[in-house]
Symmetry: C2
Subunit: 327 residues, 2 copies
């Protein structure tokens, strides 16, 4: 099955579960909590929970609560991130704090977060031993996500361009840990011990890094029809992502001056941004970034070396899907 | 031992544990997360966890993780509430979003919340069965706190004055559930079954209601030297609390006009607020509100009817302390 079809099939199952968990009163609160979930998302993280469980011969019914919980956590981070960045649109609709208001958006995030733990601890068919492991892994991941978000904010505030190593550390915490914990939770739901949890964690973490690197490349050279954002959007916004870090290190003379001039400058013309994107392409940055993403994807694939079966094939296809998304 | 001394003694134990859990990098994040905790709070909720556990012959070392977790949760709600209300001061220091900034305050709340679950699931010496029960109870309480906060916001937005029943329902969710779950968690940490958990939950819930009713009375007739807020502050802010609900229902003619005129009117003079407070006193509202709080305190005490010992005495003293705080 193609990765995108396989993801879609699982999404339906997860959506049904999520809809049931996110009903209730006051309606306003649950409408706000469901807003982004209803309007988009591929359910990649729940897919990873379910497939990791299947790969290890676990039952899907043992993993659905954890799969839904991780999607709640993902959306909780999106809702709060959008407030912090004061972003206006996501998934083609107004962000939660724009559609409702800031207090309700904070609470929508908080209730999603609370429901995630409630779902894991009450809707899972697993024994307490596994529930406790899930909570421990998930809460550690959430601590790291908060830390990663602060590192990201510090990148933006600091005039200095971070190193590639600092960038990887930041996206590891901010993005990759949730992919990592999704796979780890799948292994726990399959009632597996340390070795399998470790292998699956490694798959998820490296997939997550490859995912974010690719996302950041799309933010620079992506087709605006697909990204639904202006060309070179992340250059204008001054996002210190890998393509920019490499470009600023590599560019010289006139090219370097152009990039530093338009970087983070909200008033830059479309034309100048296009020129900067062309310079970045001409420096071979696109290939270098793609190769970095590929390296992490290969590392992820190696983590699954000792497994076989259809779930493995679907997970490897997902790797391809993630790093070959249309730019 | 006097309630206040007994609370202080336990607070030191909890503070030490909290300090250890809330260190780390990025420093900025953990400074923000610790800000309110360092600057105040009586650690009432951890006290309830520890004493409930002791009452049921449990070990303090089995309850300290849950006790600290509930204080993290309490502070997470304070940090986020202060953002929502755009409050400037708490515990005599700037609120977290004023001292740091809004994004960092959102993250400080989120990391406190994450650490709470991480502490319970990794720092507790209890078996997985009890950890899973703690997570289930705590997450359910947090869902209800979010719901309660939305009801509170709706009270403020709605022109209608809520009924006494609606007010009690709101404070039950917004405030009392955290007291309830503190006591329930103490019982779980003592490895007790359903009946004891139920009795202790009832004690906590009714104590919490009595606590909030008293707090709301202090907000109207409290001594400004003690409350550190202007006299009649909640009248000016238009807080639809029990004293106001009763006063508006009871006042007639000129008195009613005065109360409705100053209620929620930021520009009202100190003199007029004083007049309104005097009217509220003259209507016998203070006594009626105190009696309502007392009724819930008595209900709480009855929940402990079948227990004896020093922990019970301390918990009953706490009831007295809560409803007899200096107005």
């Amino acid at each position: 099955m193609k990765a995108s079809n396989s993801i879609k099939k699982n999404a339906g199952f997860v959506n049904k579960f999520l809809k049931k968990e996110l009903g209730g009163n006051p309606k306003q609160l649950y409408d706000a909590a469901s807003h982004l979930i209803i309007h988009g998302g591929k359910r990649l993280r729940p897919f990873l929970v379910l497939k990791s469980c299947q790969l290890l011969d676990g039952k899907q019914s043992d993993a659905i609560a954890a799969a839904s919980a991780v999607e709640m956590i993902h959306n909780f981070t999106l809702v709060h991130d959008d407030i912090m960045d004061n972003d206006e649109m996501r998934h083609g609709v107004p962000t939660t704090h724009k559609k409702f208001d800031m207090p309700l958006a904070i609470l929508a995030g908080d209730v999603l977060y609370s429901k995630a733990y409630h779902t894991i601890s009450t809707k899972s068919k697993l024994s307490a031993n596994y529930v406790s492991q899930l909570v421990s892994k998930l809460s550690k991941a959430c601590v790291e996500i908060c830390e990663g978000q602060v590192y990201d904010i510090k990148f933006a505030e600091n005039k200095r361009i971070p190193t590639k190593k600092e960038y990887i550390k930041m996206i590891e915490k901010k993005t990759a840990v949730l992919f990592e914990v999704s796979c780890a939770m799948g292994a726990i739901c399959a009632k597996k011990k340390q070795k399998d949890v470790k292998n699956l964690s490694s798959f998820g973490r490296n997939l997550g890094i490859a995912f974010q690197i690719t996302d950041d490349l799309i933010g620079i050279v992506g087709d605006s029809k697909i990204t639904k954002k202006p060309v070179g959007n992340d250059i204008r916004e001054g996002k210190k992502s890998l393509p920019i870090i490499l470009a600023i290190n590599k560019a010289k003379g006139k090219n370097r001056r152009l990039i530093t001039q338009v970087f983070g400058n909200a008033k830059t013309s479309k034309h100048k941004i296009s020129l900067a994107v062309n310079v970045i392409r001409s420096l071979g940055i696109e290939e270098e970034v793609k190769n970095t993403a590929l390296k992490y994807a290969q590392k992820a694939e190696r983590s699954l070396g000792s497994y076989t079966g259809s779930a493995k094939n679907e997970m490897v296809s997902l790797l391809d899907f993630v790093i070959k998304r249309r730019l």
